[in-house]
Symmetry: D2
Subunit: 472 residues, 4 copies
Amino acid sequence: MRQKDNSLRKPVRSKAADDDLLKLEARYCSWGDTVHYSKELNIFDTAEGIYLYDKKGTEYLDLQMWYSAVNFGYRNERLNNALKRQIDKLPQLACQYLHEEKIRLAAKIAGRAEMTFEEKGRVHFNVGGSAAVEDSLKLVRSHTGRNLMFAFMGGYHGRTLGASAITSSYRYRERFGHFSDRAMFIPYPYCFRCYYGQRKETCDMYCIKQFEKLFETEYHSVLNAKTGRCEYGAFYIEAVQGTGGYVIPPFEYFSRLKEILGRYNILLVDDEIQMGFFRTGKLWAIEHFGVVPDIIVMGKALTNGLNPISCVWAKENLISPKVFGPGSTHSTFSSNPLGTAVGLETMKLLEEEGFAVKVPKKGEYFVSRLRQLMKKYPQIGDVDALGLALRIEICENDGYTPNKRLTDAITEIGLSGGLTAGGKKRGLVLDVGGYYKNVFTLAPSLYITEKEIDLAIDLFEEALKKGIAATT
Amino acid sequence: MRQKDNSLRKPVRSKAADDDLLKLEARYCSWGDTVHYSKELNIFDTAEGIYLYDKKGTEYLDLQMWYSAVNFGYRNERLNNALKRQIDKLPQLACQYLHEEKIRLAAKIAGRAEMTFEEKGRVHFNVGGSAAVEDSLKLVRSHTGRNLMFAFMGGYHGRTLGASAITSSYRYRERFGHFSDRAMFIPYPYCFRCYYGQRKETCDMYCIKQFEKLFETEYHSVLNAKTGRCEYGAFYIEAVQGTGGYVIPPFEYFSRLKEILGRYNILLVDDEIQMGFFRTGKLWAIEHFGVVPDIIVMGKALTNGLNPISCVWAKENLISPKVFGPGSTHSTFSSNPLGTAVGLETMKLLEEEGFAVKVPKKGEYFVSRLRQLMKKYPQIGDVDALGLALRIEICENDGYTPNKRLTDAITEIGLSGGLTAGGKKRGLVLDVGGYYKNVFTLAPSLYITEKEIDLAIDLFEEALKKGIAATT
Amino acid sequence: MRQKDNSLRKPVRSKAADDDLLKLEARYCSWGDTVHYSKELNIFDTAEGIYLYDKKGTEYLDLQMWYSAVNFGYRNERLNNALKRQIDKLPQLACQYLHEEKIRLAAKIAGRAEMTFEEKGRVHFNVGGSAAVEDSLKLVRSHTGRNLMFAFMGGYHGRTLGASAITSSYRYRERFGHFSDRAMFIPYPYCFRCYYGQRKETCDMYCIKQFEKLFETEYHSVLNAKTGRCEYGAFYIEAVQGTGGYVIPPFEYFSRLKEILGRYNILLVDDEIQMGFFRTGKLWAIEHFGVVPDIIVMGKALTNGLNPISCVWAKENLISPKVFGPGSTHSTFSSNPLGTAVGLETMKLLEEEGFAVKVPKKGEYFVSRLRQLMKKYPQIGDVDALGLALRIEICENDGYTPNKRLTDAITEIGLSGGLTAGGKKRGLVLDVGGYYKNVFTLAPSLYITEKEIDLAIDLFEEALKKGIAATT
Amino acid sequence: MRQKDNSLRKPVRSKAADDDLLKLEARYCSWGDTVHYSKELNIFDTAEGIYLYDKKGTEYLDLQMWYSAVNFGYRNERLNNALKRQIDKLPQLACQYLHEEKIRLAAKIAGRAEMTFEEKGRVHFNVGGSAAVEDSLKLVRSHTGRNLMFAFMGGYHGRTLGASAITSSYRYRERFGHFSDRAMFIPYPYCFRCYYGQRKETCDMYCIKQFEKLFETEYHSVLNAKTGRCEYGAFYIEAVQGTGGYVIPPFEYFSRLKEILGRYNILLVDDEIQMGFFRTGKLWAIEHFGVVPDIIVMGKALTNGLNPISCVWAKENLISPKVFGPGSTHSTFSSNPLGTAVGLETMKLLEEEGFAVKVPKKGEYFVSRLRQLMKKYPQIGDVDALGLALRIEICENDGYTPNKRLTDAITEIGLSGGLTAGGKKRGLVLDVGGYYKNVFTLAPSLYITEKEIDLAIDLFEEALKKGIAATT
């Protein structure tokens, strides 16, 4: 599947050139994005399959794949070619006019939703996950007349002002004034660290019962029992939390949640930006949980990272021309032809690749190898996986207390490119998530092989050992 | 500059195929975008230079170029190739890591701003103009502690909830609940239809004086004279209004505005999403007006429409790492490598093409031809241009009363592809803007030739005649 | 009407006692109210008719009467007795239960509105003007589904957070965070200082036409022309501005305003807190202007200042039990029996006293005397009156530039109690209002005699002369 | 203490007169207040001590005393006389000027706070509890720069828009649009019906630990751990919940809460409007719990219901002239002389009456009698008391399931005036509160005698029996 082009892996810049670049960066780039979370700055030059390469040609095995945007591997030939074909055909078109790929992509996605959920619906495009989240907010606000949303602690839905209002971390809001539409954040079923201090074995979903309690009397603040109306229009979920640390909920959780929401006409909006497109072994992660969302938001891997195109799918009653008519919302690049062409090819690829079978299998193998590591290292407090969405929770020796220091050390060791597992100098690219920034959230290429998994495990173990040594 | 590839212009689908597509569209596509503003739906298949082509190979001369996103012509070879090169090199990279093109693009833009405005500053990337507007709002809110903004009547800054709050049209907000950060909208100096009923010759900028009056006493609602603090953090402007109808302000307007804003520490945010990148003959339209903005927002033509990448430039004191540190905001695709690579090539192209000279010249020729038409047709109430941002105001026979019906008729006639000027069947793609939806906002390719301008004029005149006939 | 009880006018405290009190005040009282606007602090001990008395028995002629709360004179015997009777009968009752005076007072007010406006309606009680304004906001928000309101520059509706959002002065909001429901403030027809720089003789109500222009296109920011819906639910007015400086609008202004509001279903809320109860010679000042408000808010003089009871009257369709049912809003003291008893007596008194004839006559005499002064003193830029709501605008020698310094000097001279006009040492109590704090807003007792007016004129002229001397 | 004036208790109106009144009420009174919560409407005519009387002279023993506004008995002679004296002396004075009683009352309250809490502070007056709550919001917003507040489920702080935003019941907000400053509502320690389903004996204050958990990571939504700043400015509490059902928290609860708030600079605002002035046996209920609030809000019983005056006390650093200077907020009637005079007399009375000893004693006797009833009637699920704030929770036969139907029946039986306990026809006035509207919240006069308590118990038991009979 993945092409090999060794010419690309040669050093392209000298150390001095890198230093010059870093000087420019220091002077002209905003540091407001996430680059400077690290003290060491990596400049990457090429990429292929599951690997990134820096100027010296050092190979970095990447276990985060642009936070699950590149599910199908760097420089995936099929998708790259689809993009190139469209460049030569119709690279630009005002979104006020139609082009074939837009229609076919919408039809593929909505057709798939109809098949899976037995619900008619439509697709609305935009660019960037946040913009699609904003579109979903418009659908909800238009349908319910409500500005307020429920969302999860640990949830992440983007960084526009509207998306920040439903994203849990207060750090994202602090300097930006008053957020009039701030969500009510509900504890996510993060059973390893239950918000309520319950144990999964005995709790009988205490957390769901606590949510239900909100509706018991008007004095619990959200319901007018006399009219049956709720102050909140929708519940925004990630079926598996992304930034929150690839946390997988108990399987019955969402069906019980949906049952409560249904009683009070609260919509369920499923943000699949990070977990969609077979990251978890299904097109949408929510499919694991037996519930039908009212709205699905998609982005990232829709184009394998080749174009920021994103979209919402919504049930017909929320989005039919009658209720969401011409001009309801739009953006210049919303259904841009390059994006739709790649997205369409992605959908075709998904129909052919058998990920529904392969991903769970690979995931099982990967997590079984992680479980072996867990037995050896008390610092691994938890590992879990749904498909190829995997998590490793790094703790103190008690296997529970979050250990951000060790997590950071492992990350830096991986990025420094000095690991030797597998017989040559390599780096390891890891993403850190979790409420306490102590969780490695692994999102490898869905094409990863067992051999590559083994190499990943070896590199991780090496980094872990060095990290432990460095922090004790 | 533009390649010719006749193979692409052949019919690619039958009429029946188009009908099938339209059926899919009717069923699976959201109608909430702007496609269904028209009753007739055009499906385009290829594009080149200044032309779009439908399935039958009909050639449409395009005078709107994706609302000024494709300033450098459809399928511009140089920019297309830059995109392809990057696809082969590093098409994907998490924005947490650096790549060369991001840094060089930021340096080019900030360097240019430093040269032009004698102000150090930095560039922050995102995707889509609205998202960059949201980033600018964060910069303003962080710096001023204010949620509220001034903006112009007729102004357009995007469709996220945050951008809708500073975009004048209430239609964009109506169904979406309460907007807590709704801007105060100030009349734009649209002298042809002065909000205050004044005449340009005698008004001595009455409109600016009215704005200044807001600050005369605390009872005018925005100032605490005792502390000198204003309730509003910034003024969002388009130096030339885009959606508002390519309205060009009097040249001294902005310097007088800036002087007032400066007194009360109100920032000036210049939205160049539509007018930037030499649409008006300068990199940024604001350069015509002798003022230094605090923040510039850019998008669209930065990549000639090949990637939705956008950015804000801000003065150092607003965006230095000290005040806008790591994690202030980000988005997955913000500095995506495909976008930065094309943007970088665009900046290089701009350094080489001499648009600063060519665009005004072409604009002058174009507007002189329009002025000839205006003399012939009383229905043309006003024409104006700054560079290749041109406007034609369609009116009743009095040359003043907005005539939306005729405007729509001309547009539909153009899109129907049945014009014959220039000796073959052709279409004409026009964009309608303006407060009364009676303004053709022309944004031709900056590579348009005199001959092509002549053809455009002929096609427009033909459509105008037919339109007049059809509506009287 | 007014009793005389000389025993009360004797000195009741020594100078030392006053100093002790001021020490306590400095330590234990919040300075956040308006007491410390003055540097000199007056402690008053008794009051009668139009006079206040301090500890030394100095007599202060009061021309502001608690900002028009004490329209019927200090210690009005009839109203005092009504209060005492109720104290002895039913001084307390939970507002969940009924008492006769509540019902009779509501019936009197609503009956009067029905007669005057030919509109059925109902009365809802509360305490304090701001709380009644808040109730009116609830009625508007419930009926229109809109959070946003129009209000006037120079308007004042109270100091709760909700009332501050519709009160023009930003000073009242500055330190209190973000106001999500901030009104859009429209220039009031303050013709002496026209916001638009127009002249009354020639303007043909330019200001109304400017307001109307807001609705001309959706790009003017408040209307969706396609649905005919406005973003704003109501327009809050004072028929004659109070704090704004007793400004009297042209007589046709409100009928033209109402006509525009009617087109877009925008409610008209008439705040009569300061101008109601015959201050202007009619029960409600709006009666002068030939329009029917949708809601009237009343307070202050309803009890002659003996109880803070306030109320709203609203048209039946806004307040019928069907749309504003039990529990919509309430407050502990809302229809407190002491307040309703005095209010009821006030309404009876109004039926008997012939103020509709007397007040205009007194007002004419008073303003004619002021006009004489105006001819003598260039520093009096404007005088005007509607009934016994009078204004004197203090200016520089040009008769126009606001002169706050002289205004303050006159005020202090009045409060110092050292005037000698009328043959003994007296003080003069004046209230300062206006956008530039240079307007004396006179609200004398409606029982003021011609002789007392003459004395007031003499005292004012003396203070004016001294003030001019002190400030030049 | 209480005067007897039999003349007042005679029938004053005929049945027909009552019917006429009710017709007027039906037509002219807003039904939006709480009168029509009942289907049967009682019109009361006189009151004395603990009794209300209707037109027929029927005596109603009142166990709610205007929701604790009339702590010192109806027509308390001492307080009534204080009011009358002030009427004869200085009944009206603009609050811009000083009068002795204002200063002395502020000094008494602030002096008492200084003694009790060892904190200097100041008093700011207003009218109505809600308005004082609004003033406290201004103090909090000014000090913290935060619009958002924590408050309790079951909490009640008033009905202005600002107070509704921090009052739990959504019913109070539903029809009034979007509330941008909606509080985050935290479960109150209502141990009889623990929100978390815990048992008091074993929970170790699980609820406090849950609140503390909010601050554990930024992903719990309220804290930026990096800056230590919380999104919420203050926590609004009632030390004993009023409308919520006279719920008394565990004694250590507030000290543990305050410790957490202190860590993040979150203010504690103590709403004593209903529980202050010795209702619980102390001047402020919070005194029972060993914590020092930052702000105290008072109202109701401050004047024994004779004037709506209210106030906030705040710590010096929140309210000193430097941070809360002249003009920060005010209202016409804020420190009205009638209100301050009665308030001052109330404070003197409190110094002399020994309520700190008497109230707990009476409360103990009352609750012991209720406990006897509880043993007899399974329908009494819970009784509790702090001083003379008593609660009776009416349940199904299981002693737990809330029984609103029986509660309503008892209330109506009481109001119907047909009880015969104590040997004559009498009524019983009860107030219903609680999250499920099944709690009698008893607030008898603090002068109630043991004999009167016995009578109250007899009447209650009679009504209870009849209610049980009527509902089974």
